[in-house]
Amino acid sequence: MLGPVGYAIWFLVLLSEACFVVCALYKREFLRYLPLNLYMLLCVVGNLGVYVCSRTYGVHSREYFYSYYSSDILLSILMYYVIAGLFSQVFADTNFGRYVRGAALMLLGLTALFAFVSVRSNGQHLSTEFVVELEQDLNFVGVILMYVLWGAVIKLRETRARLVQVVLALGVYFSAVAGAYALRNLFPELEYSILRWLPPVIGLWLPLAWTYTFVRVPEEARMASEHMLVTS
């Protein structure tokens, strides 16, 4: 079971996710940013469900295992929907805008196909292995997509402050997740000490950054284009 620090981080993550949804409802922006809000809402529901399963059945039970991975695969697909939505917003005024949805669906299909081919040789537990493999693949596709999206934001000189901050927060999140696992790969001896806490702390970053953005940055806020040009 988790210790006090684990439960404290878990509670903070849950609180910040719920805070994001409540703020969106309060400011009547829930429908305007539907993908982001749906993602956060599902995070809250998934976290609560996983907590109930962990308390009822224990963290080593099959019930906990399935509840964890089924909620996580749903969240990964929803996160993919969030990224596709951000691409649509960034490319809205360009010729590429109408291809975004098709490209996103095609990439999701290709990723699922790749995950299936990767685990097909495992005769046993095919569906379980597939879910874990797809979840990993979607995460790394997300990392690459965030860099492509950031390149597009720079090139198209996107000035909508909210959009830029949401993209940056997601970029930091995906990069940190990839970095955390790279560190685990490089320093396996630290896996059960400091590196154990990195993924949950990274999980806290996204709802906090998004909540800050939506509370402090108004919808009509624009960034000076010089700021964007400096980074390019």
């Binding site: 988790l2 080593h60 790749f114 292995e129 995460n139 690459i144 896996e191």
Partner: protein, 48 residues
């Protein structure tokens, strides 16, 4: 038609880069669902 070919090529490039990055950052042994089960922690991304 040409643009759709470009979209497919772009998708394949993204997928290839993602698979390469995954291979560099995760250990093969950890892709086993059963070994990951023991190391999970709630409240964050999956510790594979």
């Amino acid at each position: 038609m040409n643009k759709w070919i470009a979209v497919v090529v772009l998708d394949l490039m993204v997928l290839t880069a993602a698979v390469g990055l995954k291979a560099m950052t995760t250990r093969a042994a950890q892709s086993s669902a059963t070994s990951a089960a023991a190391a999970r922690i709630i409240g964050g991304p999956v510790p594979w």
